[in-house]
């Protein structure tokens, strides 16, 4: 990555395009994602069109959330492509985090090609109101 940083003009000047994965692996694409924050949790929405539950791997490792999603769709026999825009490459996304959520209570749901991961905030980082006595 350090080699890339010196080669790629935007990165080398400290600007990172928002909303895109830091990690790019050859042969895969980074999906679009969005992170919402509430008082109780962080909500991660990842757009994974054409991905089924069977083709999805979500793992929480030390300091990282990684998603590998395979597109299950195969072109049926006899179909001739006339025009193509949809990529066949699998999705990968790796996000770094600072362990401020409760990894025991993480929930994930895949619906209509959107993966929703709820990461409940750890008690220590929740906003707390302190009564002045």
């Amino acid at each position: 990555m350090s080699v890339l940083n010196t080669l790629l003009p935007r990165r080398s000047r400290g600007e990172t395009p928002a909303g895109r994965s830091e990690v790019s692996t050859t042969g895969t694409v980074a999906p679009f994602y969005k992170i919402n924050e509430t008082d109780e949790a962080y909500e991660l929405h990842v757009f994974l069109p054409g991905v089924t539950k069977e083709g999805l791997e979500l793992s929480l490792e030390k300091g990282e959330i990684s998603i590998v999603a395979r597109r299950e769709w195969k072109k049926p026999e006899g179909w001739t492509p006339l025009y193509r825009e949809i990529r066949t490459a699998d999705f990968t996304l790796t996000l770094r985090h600072d362990n401020t959520f409760d990894s025991e209570r993480v929930r994930a749901e895949l619906k209509d090609g959107v993966l929703r991961v709820t990461l409940p905030k750890a008690e220590a980082v929740k906003p707390r109101k302190i009564q002045v006595g």
Binding site: P17, E37, G113
Partner: protein
């Protein structure tokens, strides 16, 4: 004889490989007038003043950024949030049908409209992007029309939405289907 010579002289001018000759005077043998073709120089404006503090390379860097961003965006399905109203499509055919596949993750089935008007298939709809706490959900509308290359039976078009991908099946008209006619040889 004289006319023939004039004809052969005019011909090489049309050939790009002989462009070097254009710089030389072309002489019309009949009227003896001479004409020279000179490359046109664009008028030069005054030198663009350099803004103090700005890098003289800034326009070059901007251009590199633009090229880089356009190259990188090919590898991301949606390069940024603003692209959520654009979606990629595929067009396929087999002997009986045309098929259109469109990637529309996270859209309610009731919010997808598929229309067939003449030879154009239009896919439109609304996507609700949930907002953060305290912020309302965003609604993005999208629409796209595709020209279907062959006549289809518009009343028999069917659409299925599964795992965020819309598949539209457009049955070909009978006359558009390839027909196999066996001819008896006597």
């Amino acid at each position: 004889m004289h006319r023939e010579a004039a004809g052969t002289r005019a011909a090489p001018v049309m050939q790009p490989s002989r462009r070097a000759e254009l710089a030389a005077p072309i002489t019309n043998t009949e009227t003896k007038t001479t004409m020279t073709i000179v490359r046109y120089n664009y008028p030069r404006t005054s030198l663009t003043p350099l803004v103090r503090g700005a890098s003289p390379w800034s326009s070059f860097e901007r251009e590199l950024d633009r090229l880089f961003t356009s190259a990188v965006s090919d590898f991301a399905v949606f390069s940024n949030a603003g692209d959520l109203d654009h979606f990629p499509v595929d067009l396929y055919e087999d002997a009986d049908n045309h098929y259109v596949r469109a990637e529309l993750p996270g859209v309610e089935r009731s919010e997808i409209n598929v229309e067939m008007v003449e030879d154009y298939l239009t896919i439109s709809g609304k996507r609700v992007v949930p907002g953060s706490e305290g912020q309302p959900a965003e609604t993005l509308e999208f629409t796209r029309s595709l020209a279907i290359p062959e006549a289809v039976q518009a009343d028999k078009v069917a659409a299925v939405y599964e795992n965020g991908v819309l598949t539209v099946t457009l049955p070909k008209r009978e006359e558009a289907k390839p027909r196999k006619i066996s001819i008896e040889v006597k």
